[in-house]
């Protein structure tokens, strides 16, 4: 009789490492067409550490204080560097947001609660400031939850709508209002990064390159389907990638293919992590 022995901390550690390395690869890939400056490398490393700490915090294995310290350091660091000079960091941010959205979507589907909902709501806001395509993808995923999974624990459909969409509504209203106040034009959208991102990202990535980059997520999805492990998170990923791809046609001035790429990579990074996490929580089985 064989007994499957699972070393949970080790597998969990591997999962986090896998996710973080994937993210690192993501931002290095994003930055590969430009020379990396010292500031950019430092920033990528800082974001990498922050993501790892946050992951640990969410999996209840870390202390919140290093996380807060990391957040403050990164904010200070952000202020000291011009974001448009660091495409790698921008890519990492977009990828992380996609990762978290798919993660929270899966968490909420497993057990509806306030924390995944609030995280998704805040991530959509952050995505709106970082990359409109990612924001649209995340928003679409949140909308699908609203349509299919409102839960009494969060106040049913009305409560759900308030909790999920208030931050993004406030964010957009504020942006429109500030845009109007600064430029007199409601469409000025001064808080968003699109003009910055566009200038940095467009020369780097075209549709042909995107097709190559999508090979990794497609491989991950295929392997999960083959292993019979595909579930709602896989479906969610496909959904947001399609919506994001469609958004590049609907809003060509704001959305571009780099967002689609970020969503697919970030989301599939979560699927990869989830595979490890699933094994970590597996019960010892008898064969």
């Amino acid at each position: 009789m064989l007994r499957l022995r699972v070393n949970k901390p080790a597998v969990s550690f591997l999962a986090q490492m896998a996710a973080c390395l994937f993210m690192l690869a993501l931002c290095v890939a994003g930055a590969r067409q430009q020379a990396l400056e010292t500031g950019a490398i430092l920033k990528i490393a800082a974001l990498f550490c922050f993501f790892w700490l946050w992951h640990q915090q969410l999996t209840r294995s870390g202390s919140p204080w290093p996380l807060s310290l990391a957040a403050v350091s990164i904010t200070a660091f952000e202020a000291s560097l011009r974001i448009d000079q660091i495409p790698g960091a921008l890519y990492l941010t977009g990828g992380v947001l996609a990762y978290i959205t798919v993660w929270m979507f899966t968490t909420y589907r497993r057990q509806p609660g306030l924390q995944p909902l609030a995280t998704m709501a805040l991530v959509i806001c952050a995505a709106l400031l970082a990359n409109p395509t990612v924001a649209i993808g995340c928003f679409a995923l949140a909308l699908s939850l609203f349509v299919f999974n409102p839960h009494p624990a969060v106040g049913g459909r009305l409560g759900f709508a308030f909790l999920l969409f208030t931050p993004v509504t406030l964010c957009v209203s504020a942006a429109v209002m500030l845009g109007f106040l600064v430029t007199g034009n409601v469409m000025a959208y001064p808080l968003s990064a699109p003009p910055i991102l566009h200038s940095a990202a467009r020369p780097m990535l075209d549709a042909a390159l995107l097709a190559n980059e999508l090979l990794i997520p497609i491989a991950i999805l295929a392997s999960r389907i083959a292993a019979g492990r595909a579930g709602s998170s896989d479906l969610a990923l496909v959904l947001i990638v399609f919506i994001a791809a469609a958004s590049t046609r609907w809003f060509p001035g704001y959305c571009d293919v780099s967002g689609v790429w970020l969503l697919s990579l970030g989301g599939s990074a979560f699927l990869l992590t989830n595979a490890f996490e699933g094994r970590a929580s597996a019960r010892p089985a008898h064969a």
């Binding site: 957040a71 308030f162 208030t166 504020a174």
Partner: protein, 635 residues
């Protein structure tokens, strides 16, 4: 004057088997029925209390008659201490606590014998005295006579201690001095430096100050958002399960003191007594003290009229300065007999199992825990806009912020009521600061500074939310004034504070207590440029608020408001007040009110630092209905 008489036997010297049992004696005297005795014996078994305590707390017999019978049971003389008062010169001022805990007093001294009046002839304290002093005689009296006489003889000392103990023994933690001389010097230097900088670099100075204010506010908003996000988890921090409460047996429960300070609120007394009677705790182990001001004849008369059972005691606090709730509680602390102690406001409705949960919490959290705070919320949330906003704010505070602060192991500013203390530790830290008008918040920080833990338990006390604007502003101005006092006290020695509570504790004090006051005070100044900008397009402000600074301020204002609106929503959802979610959008108007109260509090800190702005309770429509219901029940 009546003199001590030798009774037929030396008090308490007969063997127990010679005596008729107390219960039988009470039945024989027709003070209770045989059925009542059987019931009392059952409860005695269940609660692990003495029969006398059970019978008294059930209210079947008047205390005076009971103690007469008790005297006869022990073959002792009964004395009425109101008619035959104690000789005050016999009291040992260092043993006042022992007198109140052991329920005895030295009564008279005659022919070399010391006569002791006791309500508990079998207490260990009496046994100890007998061992140490051979020529001791006992007389029996009632518990209430002991408390009355103790207050009469030692009241002035109790009162003096209540006011001065902390300021005398731990002056650096007392708010009696509002701003210390070094703080005054620092403040003067800072103002002078600011004036010089403003004169030399008006543009740079305004930009710098604005940037600093915005940075601080933004970090404090983010801190609050992080706390809320942490508390959104289904289970955060410490909790006591229903199973753990159910596994407690009544016999193992300690005596619990409940302090209820009241002033000019006779109308809510029936609600209070009804709520306390509903507590799931052996009544014979409750030591409830209604703390009333001596001059408050109205409430004293109302309390007497309720003919409360022996669980309740009325403590009359003699007039002295400052006339504050913490001073009254300090006074009553001298008469507390419990292992643990809690405070409720007059209109509070604690969940029935709260005391048991606190007992479990103290056991689980261990020796280092000095206090656990129950969560507060309101029963009249839906009454009007103000009560809705107040409920949102309390949900945010007690369901989101405090559990997260507990999780972070940083100092927790306690809420006004429903804090449960380990009585020994409370006395060790000199209890409440009578000069601080948010004595609870100050005490939580003081416990942390002394290395004790303050926890939060998952039990709720429902209070009455302020439904009238004037009353709300009075209450809030006191809170903000008290927060400034607390901040000033803790910032007397910032380096020492960091050493005691760590850098995390220090930061959390600034971002939580400091930022609460600061944001209330600067809020209008952040809103004002925004409004001026909208109406004037910044032309009027351009000399002092260059466009980049103005944009940052306005962006911060919007981000801050958005964050606070959203966390209020999360708090409402956590407490399942889903109907309050849309009201969170009106929170900016509520914060403007907070600014009004903030400036009132600041003004009072300068003019009347120790003045206690009384909050009127019992003004809610729901409370009025509740009073009628409770009154009819008590009748």
């Amino acid at each position: 004057m009546l003199e001590p008489r030798e009774t037929a036997s030396r008090a308490g010297r007969r063997m127990p088997n010679e005596r008729v049992r107390l219960g039988e004696l009470l039945v024989r005297e027709k003070l209770i029925t045989a059925e009542q005795l059987d019931h009392a014996l059952e409860l005695q078994q269940k609660w692990g209390s003495r029969l006398g305590d059970v019978i008294l707390t059930m209210g079947w017999v008047r205390p005076q008659e009971f103690y007469r019978t008790l005297a006869s049971h022990f073959g002792m003389e009964f004395v009425d201490l109101i008619k035959q008062p104690v000789d005050g010169s016999l009291l040992d001022r260092d043993r006042l606590l022992s007198y109140s805990e052991g329920l005895y007093l030295p009564w008279r001294s005659q022919n070399g014998a010391l006569w002791i009046a006791t309500a508990d002839p079998t207490s260990p304290a009496i046994e100890e005295i007998r061992k140490s002093q051979p020529n001791v005689r006992l007389v029996c009296t009632s518990k209430f006579d002991i408390i009355w006489e103790l207050q009469r003889v030692a009241g002035s000392k109790f009162s003096d201690d209540a006011v001065n103990h902390l300021a005398t023994f731990d002056p650096k933690h007392s708010a009696r001095t509002v701003v210390t001389p070094p703080q005054k010097v620092f403040l003067a230097l800072a103002l002078a430096a600011a004036a010089c900088l403003l004169a030399a670099f008006p543009f740079g100075f305004v930009v710098g100050v604005n940037a600093l204010i915005n940075l601080f506010l933004f970090v404090s908003f983010l801190f609050r958002l992080t706390l809320c996000w942490m508390s959104c988890a289904d289970r955060i921090g410490f909790s006591v399960s229903d199973e753990e409460v159910a596994s407690l047996t009544d016999t193992e429960l300690p005596v619990y003191t409940v302090l209820v300070p009241m002033y000019q609120e006779p109308e809510v007394l029936p609600i209070l007594t009804a709520a306390l009677r509903r507590m799931d705790y052996p009544r014979s182990k409750l030591d409830i003290k209604l703390i009333l001001e001596e001059g408050d004849a109205q409430t004293i008369e109302a309390a007497k009229a309720l003919a409360l059972d022996a669980t309740f005691e009325i403590v009359r606090v003699p007039p002295s300065f400052p006339k504050t709730k913490p001073k009254a509680c300090n006074y009553a602390l001298n008469l507390a007999r419990g292992k643990y102690l809690t405070i409720y406001d007059a209109e509070d409705k604690p969940q029935a199992d709260q005391l048991k949960k606190a007992v479990v919490a103290f056991r689980k959290l261990g020796e280092g825990t000095a206090c656990v705070q129950a969560r507060l919320n309101y029963f009249n949330a839906e009454e009007n806009w103000l009560t809705r906003m107040f409920t949102l704010e309390y949900s945010l505070w007690f369901d989101m912020f405090l559990p997260a602060l507990d999780r972070l192991r940083v100092p927790i500013p306690l809420g006004g009521t429903s804090n449960h203390f380990d009585l020994t530790k409370l006395r060790q830290v000199s209890a409440w600061d009578p000069f601080n008008v948010t004595e609870d918040a100050d005490l939580g920080l003081r416990f942390a500074a002394l290395g004790y833990r303050v926890g939060v338990i998952n039990s709720v006390t429902f209070e009455e939310a302020n439904s009238r604007l004037g009353n709300w502003i009075r209450q809030r101005s006191r809170w903000i004034k008290g927060y400034i006092q607390t901040w000033l006290v803790n910032m007397r020695d910032p380096v020492g504070l960091i050493r005691r509570v760590g850098i995390q504790g220090f930061c959390s004090l600034q971002l939580f207590v400091g930022a609460s006051v600061f944001s209330a005070l600067v809020y209008p100044f952040v809103v004002l440029p925004f409004l001026v900008w909208i109406f004037t397009r910044s032309a009027a402000l351009s000399p002092f608020f260059p466009a980049p600074v103005l944009v940052v301020s306005v962006a911060n204002l919007i981000a801050g408001n958005s964050i606070l609106i959203y966390v209020s929503m999360l708090a409402a959802a956590k407490r399942h007040h889903f109907s309050l979610l849309p009201y969170a959008l009106t929170a900016p108007a509520y914060w403007l009110l907070m600014s009004v109260a903030g400036y009132k509090g600041l003004w009072q800190l300068v003019t009347k630092p120790f003045y206690w702005e009384k909050t009127t309770h019992g003004i809610s429509k729901l409370t009025s209905a509740e009073v009628l219901r409770a009154s009819s029940q008590s009748e």
